[in-house]
């Protein structure tokens, strides 16, 4: 175990070194690039024994990782934004093929207009691609998720690819003190990858085939069921992780002072820290507020969320995302999860941070004020004034 001063990208690369993937195929894109740079340095200096493959596109990055996974070995790739969208076809392919690849995605805005800064529209647009989706809050959690993601993805009952999302720049490029576990500890945590879902000379397979209407639906149902089976496996992974490394995680979502909260803000990613600070300051003024940070968008924390917010008077969703012509995707998912759960508190959507625009201290205070006073709209755009938004 060693304390290091690392950015989110660097911490993630450290986690991947500990996970010992056999094949790494990645294509550079800002703000993910540091991860692949670090990994190639680790391969060069011999501290990571992996095949580092310089692919010609993100589509090839994931296609190559799928080939490696189909050959029965552990594979890693990383991307961001346009790159994630460029490989979108392969996302569905990897999940349908049940290849437990781990991919880091640096959350970044999507063109047009071009923009390299952080929002979460890239990964949230791929919620239906069949990947487990986790959102890290800080560099430590990034490193820890790099390790835990393989445990969960490769678990026999899950066998589903895993996307770990880090907010572009805010997390990928920000330095923090990070505890880097020792390789022996990591080995104790993560078993070697073993699977029957592989090409095998002694027991030849035909893979990634077509399936007609009679069986296709069954394959898809099983894919869904496996993703749901990840929920107890996430718990199992976190328990084992805590035993070995001493750090505790809280499953699909993270709660902060929600037990007695009248007003709860639900968000994901690195903004949660600021939200908690504000919750504390508002509590000093006697307003009982809490924060829920969604850690996993897939599988979605339907049950845990309803339980966390059941006593609240009003709920706000803060997200760096929009589904044009509708509302924020996180909001849609939350509203759907709360249906039929006997929750009468109104839910308001606050969209902000698109293209990396800052969400300020004051913006978050204003969210709490609006939901407390009942003056919020169903969907609100932070920083766009009333009258402008027509």
């Amino acid at each position: 175990m060693a304390e290091k001063f690392l950015s989110g990208d660097e911490a993630f690369a450290e986690g991947i070194r500990l996970a010992c993937p056999d094949v790494i195929s990645a294509y550079p894109i800002t703000p993910q690039t540091i991860v692949v740079e670090k990994l190639s340095e680790m391969v060069e200096d011999g501290s990571l024994d992996a095949e580092f493959i310089h692919v010609e596109s993100e589509h090839s990055a994931l296609s190559c990782a799928m080939g490696a996974s189909a050959a029965g070995v552990r594979a890693f790739t990383a991307t961001s934004s346009q790159g994630l969208l460029y490989m979108a076809e392969c996302l569905y392919y990897a999940s349908g093929g049940r290849f437990p690849i781990v991919m880091m995605n640096a959350n970044r805005s999507t063109a047009l207009p071009w923009n390299i800064y952080g929002d979460q529209r890239d990964s949230l647009s791929q919620l239906d691609s069949g990947w487990i989706q986790a959102y890290a809050e800080n560099a430590q959690e990034s490193l820890d998720l790099a390790l835990m993601s393989y445990y969960i993805a490769e678990h026999k009952s899950v066998s589903t690819p895993f996307m770990v999302n880090l907010d572009g720049f805010i997390l990928t490029h920000t330095y923090e003190q990070v505890d880097v576990p020792a390789p022996e500890q990591a080995k104790k945590f993560l078993p070697p990858y073993e699977t029957e879902n592989k090409l095998d000379l002694d027991n030849p397979k035909n893979m990634a085939f077509s399936a007609g209407p009679d069986t296709n639906y069954i394959f898809k149902y099983k894919e869904h069921a496996a993703m749901l089976r990840a929920i107890p496996v996430i718990e199992e992974a976190e328990q084992k992780f805590a035993e070995i490394f001493g750090r505790k995680y809280t499953g699909l979502l993270d709660q902060y002072k929600t037990e007695d909260a009248d007003y709860i803000l639900i968000t994901l990613g690195s903004i949660a820290g600021l939200c908690r600070e504000i919750a504390d300051s508002l509590r000093q003024n006697g307003i009982r507020v809490g924060v829920v940070r969604i850690r996993y968008m897939r599988p979605f924390p339907t049950e845990a969320l309803a339980e966390a917010v059941q006593n609240a008077k009003a709920l706000a969703v803060l997200e760096k995302d929009i589904s044009f012509g509708n509302e924020g995707t996180v909001f849609t998912n939350i509203c759907s999860a709360l249906q039929g759960k006997n929750i009468t508190a109104p839910v308001y959507d606050f969209i902000g941070g698109l293209g990396g625009r800052n969400i300020s201290h004051q913006d978050i205070i204003a969210i709490f004020e609006k939901i407390q006073s009942g003056t919020a709209n169903r969907v609100n755009f932070i920083g766009i004034e009333e009258g402008e938004n027509t």
């Binding site: 056999d22 094949v23 195929s25 095949e51 493959i53 310089h54 692919v55 010609e56 596109s57 589509h59 090839s60 990055a61 296609s63 190559c64 990782a65 799928m66 080939g67 490696a68 996974s69 189909a70 050959a71 029965g72 070995v73 594979a75 076809e89 392969c90 392919y93 090409l199 095998d200 000379l201 030849p204 397979k205 035909n206 893979m207 990634a208 085939f209 077509s210 399936a211 007609g212 069986t215």
Partner: protein, 295 residues
């Protein structure tokens, strides 16, 4: 040692598939696998051969085989080759079978990347000169003048207005360890090129003409005839690229008639004498170049 019918692996690795009767592509896949044997690990992108060979639970490959994304034949081969190596497996051949569209259009980027990395794979392009699986649309390897469903032959435009992309030389321009052209019509030449490729380290590319009776508009029994005539009349050539040099495998002293070759096929039925003259002239020009520059 050269491969022949007698020395060829008697096993059938591609069997029971639903390709059209007389399919040239399936002949190429079948025979290539017979050369490479049971340890061939085949990657097939979306296209005829994957569509006809992998409909669960009708799975027509006796060896390990997997469908890749349309654009991802070469990149998936790369991953498989690396993965097998990581497992410590040595005695295997990663081989891809992609059609003309899968190779020269949507898959060219990944193919170029694999050659650039010199991944130890064999990439076979079975060229039936159009997107046959979707119903005969023009690809980058559709020849000049061919009628397809997206290059209709009318009064104004006589089918495809562009010549075939030169994949063999595009691949060779990467300075690939081995590239070759072939036809299912001269199967021994094809078999021996596969055999040769299997012994070479690095990326190997074999481009095999594989007539599609449906798309070319010929009787199903005439696949082999057409696959021979295209070489005999000089519109296709059998060659190799090795040790940085081009080498012609067969240099016909006299060409058979281009017109005769074209007129037998419904896709060229509309061509005027002038069109045929253009095609013949371009053949002559190509051969002039080949004979003066290649060994």
């Amino acid at each position: 040692m050269s491969v022949s019918a007698k020395t060829l692996d008697q096993n059938e690795y591609f069997y029971g598939h639903k390709a059209c009767a007389g399919c040239g592509g399936s002949l190429a896949v079948r025979n290539a696998l017979k050369v490479l044997g049971k340890n061939a690990v085949a990657v097939l992108p979306a296209g005829c051969m994957s569509a006809v060979g992998f409909n669960f639970p009708q799975l027509c490959f006796a060896n390990n085989a997997i469908i890749s994304t349309f654009a991802g034949t070469a990149s998936m081969l790369t991953g498989i080759e690396a993965g097998f190596r990581r497992r410590g497996i040595k005695d295997f051949t990663a081989v891809g079978f992609a059609g003309d569209g899968g190779t020269a259009d949507i898959g060219i980027q990944a193919l170029s990347g694999a050659i650039d990395r010199n991944d130890n794979i064999i990439y076979i392009c079975y060229d039936n000169e159009a997107y046959m699986n979707t119903g005969i649309q023009k690809s980058g390897l559709t020849p000049f003048g061919a009628k397809t469903t997206t290059t209709p032959a009318g009064q104004n435009i006589h089918g495809n207005i562009r010549p075939k992309k030169n994949m063999f030389e595009i691949v060779a321009a990467h300075d690939i360890p081995y590239a070759a052209t072939a036809t299912v019509g001269y199967i021994n030449d094809f078999l021996n090129k596969i055999e040769k490729a299997s012994k070479i380290q690095g990326t190997k590319y074999i481009h095999v003409i594989a007539p599609c009776p449906t798309g070319w508009g010929i009787p199903v029994s005439d696949t082999i005839d057409a696959a021979r005539e295209i070489v005999d009349c000089g519109l296709w050539y059998l060659a190799e690229y090795e040790n940085h040099e081009f080498k012609i495998s067969r240099d016909p002293k006299n060409f058979t008639s281009v017109e005769e070759y074209l007129r037998k096929q419904a896709r060229f039925k509309h061509l005027t004498d002038e069109d045929i003259k253009i095609i013949t002239e371009s053949r002559d020009k190509k051969w002039e170049f080949i004979r003066s520059h290649w060994n």
